[in-house]
């Protein structure tokens, strides 16, 4: 199986911006809304080419969700853009009633998710968004791993009919998936094949998992790395299949332990195939100011902590 390397680092939000621009050119029903964060969300290229299909909402996210729901009536496919915090927690009831319960085809696109937003600190570093969104009936939740996958996911969700939460981030992270890889919602991607332990990772933690695998391989541990870019609907079959083979699993994500990917994998395994499991995630804590690297280390969500979790879980086999 491929050994992953990268030559470039890019922010996933730019992958969103590129995907949106491409959608502008290929799908006339796609429209975009933003709550005064056009630069941060990389939406300017779309706006320049399709000014009549862009709606500036100002700093009014609740209204943005309602307007987006309304735009679907008449066939538009609205993409909303703001930070993850303001895309979820701030507007939960608007999403719940006007979008999810109403089955509206809105794509909620959220940047600056998690700790790696960095220096702005905990007010903006939402670590609960996946949990909030996955609890909503009808909602699809996607957390791609790099620039290419974010771009591909942005394009793919326009084809899918129904509400979607698409989560990405601020910092530059390694680009290691192929630019031409088609994005399949709900289909886990096996990145590295192994036999002793499975790491289920999501978002840019997939890269951390790949780095952890390299360290563990040198110690003779055969690690399987699976990219769970879609947290809901979860690829239950892929999870059970891999857990059956390796007998122990680690989950890795930039999110609270409560409500995140780890929680979904644990539920799946507890119901189908009880398996020792360790979670690499933020443990019931808010973040703080710092650089992305410092924060990932301090809050225990980097490659080093994945290695430690693998060693812990293998002892429980």
């Amino acid at each position: 199986m491929t050994k992953f390397t990268y030559t470039d680092q890019k922010d996933t939000r730019s992958g969103f911006g590129a995907g949106l621009l491409e959608l502008g050119r290929t799908n006339p029903e796609v429209v975009a809304l933003c709550a005064d964060l056009v630069g941060s969300l990389k939406m300017q290229d779309f706006i320049d080419e399709f000014p009549e299909r862009f709606f500036q909402v100002g700093i009014a996210e609740a209204n943005m969700m309602g307007v987006a729901a309304g735009l679907t009536i008449g066939g538009k496919i609205p993409f909303t853009g703001t930070f993850a915090n303001f895309s979820t927690g701030r507007v939960y009831d608007q999403i719940r009633q006007s979008i999810a319960y109403s089955g509206k085809n809105v794509k909620i696109c959220a940047s600056h998710a998690g700790l790696t937003l960095g220096e702005d600190g905990a007010t903006h570093q939402i670590l609960e968004d996946i949990g909030l969104m996955k609890m909503l009936p009808h909602m699809t939740v996607i957390n791609p791993c790099d620039y290419n996958q974010t771009k591909a996911a942005t394009i793919a969700i326009a084809e899918y009919e129904g509400p979607v939460y698409l989560r990405f981030g601020r910092p530059k992270v390694p680009v290691f998936t192929p630019a031409d890889q088609k994005f399949e919602i709900g289909k886990a991607l096996k990145m590295i094949e192994g036999n002793d332990v499975t790491i289920f990772a999501t978002g840019h933690l997939v890269w951390e998992a790949i780095e952890a695998e390299a360290v563990l391989a040198k110690e003779g541990i055969s690690v399987e790395v699976i990219n769970i870019h879609t947290i809901k609907p979860l690829d239950i079959q892929a999870i059970i299949e891999s857990a059956k083979k390796t007998g122990c699993v680690v989950t890795a994500e930039e999110h609270q332990m409560n409500g995140g990917l780890g929680d979904s994998v644990a539920q799946t395994l507890a119901l189908n195939l009880p398996t020792p499991l360790e979670m690499v995630a933020v443990n019931d804590s808010f973040g703080e100011s710092g650089t992305p690297e410092q924060l990932m280390k301090k809050y225990g969500i980097d490659a080093e902590n994945i290695v430690k979790a693998v060693k812990r879980v293998m002892k429980r086999k």
Binding site: M65, G66, G70, I73, S102, G103, K104
Partner: protein, 282 residues
């Protein structure tokens, strides 16, 4: 289209009022007060003002659309939709019951024709109406979008976000109406959260404002006709419509007490005695 006369509309409204009190009585729950207060308005809207198509098209292309933001007055909307032919009148008997399409608050989940978005959690309808109106503009559809809000609902900040948005984006195919009955659950709006000069507020937000009497059919028709003539001129239009909560049933009028309370058997009989059965009870 042949528009019904004021007299015909009033007869329809009487039947709708019967439906409302019978529906909430049957399940001993629901919101008769605001429903009765808005009966004349919704009757005029669906039977005279709006240009609508049947069967129901969820996308509402090339037809006028209505959104009910204050979803708790679902009884009046359900009755109007049924009496307009969107679904069988007999289905009104399922209101608020298990497995019904007529949920306590309007919803799309069960596929009830006539409803395009869920409402009930207040303050969201104007935003949705803005989006729907903008979709019409993008689709080169020259029909209008109507939305009704409660006055108590105006406490919600999102309403004012949407009000600012509609004026900024010149959404002039949008006609909002405020059910200005001066009552909310905990009492008169002046006590609970004073709306102060509501007309000045909307004007300051950049809207064309009209004022009307929502319990006089002629006034409702005139106001909405005026609203239509004001639309298409670069500004959204709002109709501040004075109504009486419980209008048409004497003992329910003029108090917030009948906001969310159903009549008992005796009260139902008293109410029905005041409301002529014009189209046949369901």
């Amino acid at each position: 289209m042949n528009k019904p006369s004021i007299e015909t509309l009033e007869k329809t409204a009487s039947q709708v009022r019967r439906d409302i009190v019978r529906m909430v009585h049957a399940v001993n729950s629901g919101h008769p007060g605001g429903s009765l207060g808005c009966t004349d308005f919704l009757t005029a809207l669906y039977f005279n003002i709006m240009d609508i198509k049947k069967p129901f098209d969820p996308d509402g292309r090339d037809e006028d659309m209505f959104f009910l933001s204050n979803g708790h007055i679902s009884p009046v909307w359900y009755s109007i939709l049924a009496r307009s032919g969107y679904f069988p009148v007999s289905e009104l008997a399922t209101f608020r019951k298990l497995d019904s399409r007529l949920q306590g608050h309007p919803a799309t989940e069960e596929g009830l024709p006539g409803i395009r978005v869920a409402s009930g959690s207040l303050g969201q309808g104007l935003s949705v109406a803005c989006g729907a109106a903008q979709a019409k503009k993008l689709n080169k559809d020259d029909k209008r979008v109507y939305v009704l809000m409660g006055d108590g609902e105006l406490d919600e900040g999102q309403v004012w976000e949407a009000a600012m948005y509609a004026a900024h984006h010149k959404i002039d195919n949008l006609i909002a109406t405020v059910d200005y009955n001066g009552q909310q659950i905990d009492g008169p709006t002046s006590d609970v959260m004073d709306l102060k000069d509501l007309k000045a507020k909307w004007q300051a937000f950049g809207w064309d404002v009209i004022e009307s009497d929502g319990n006089d059919m002629k006034s409702v028709i005139n106001a909405m006709t005026l609203a239509k003539s004001l639309s298409g001129k670069g500004k959204p239009v709002v109709n501040l419509m004075k109504t009486e909560m419980g209008a048409g049933v004497d003992f329910m009028m003029g108090s917030h007490k009948w906001h969310g309370v159903a009549p008992n058997d005796e009260q139902l009989a008293t109410a029905l005695a005041q409301l002529e059965e014009t189209l046949g009870d369901y």
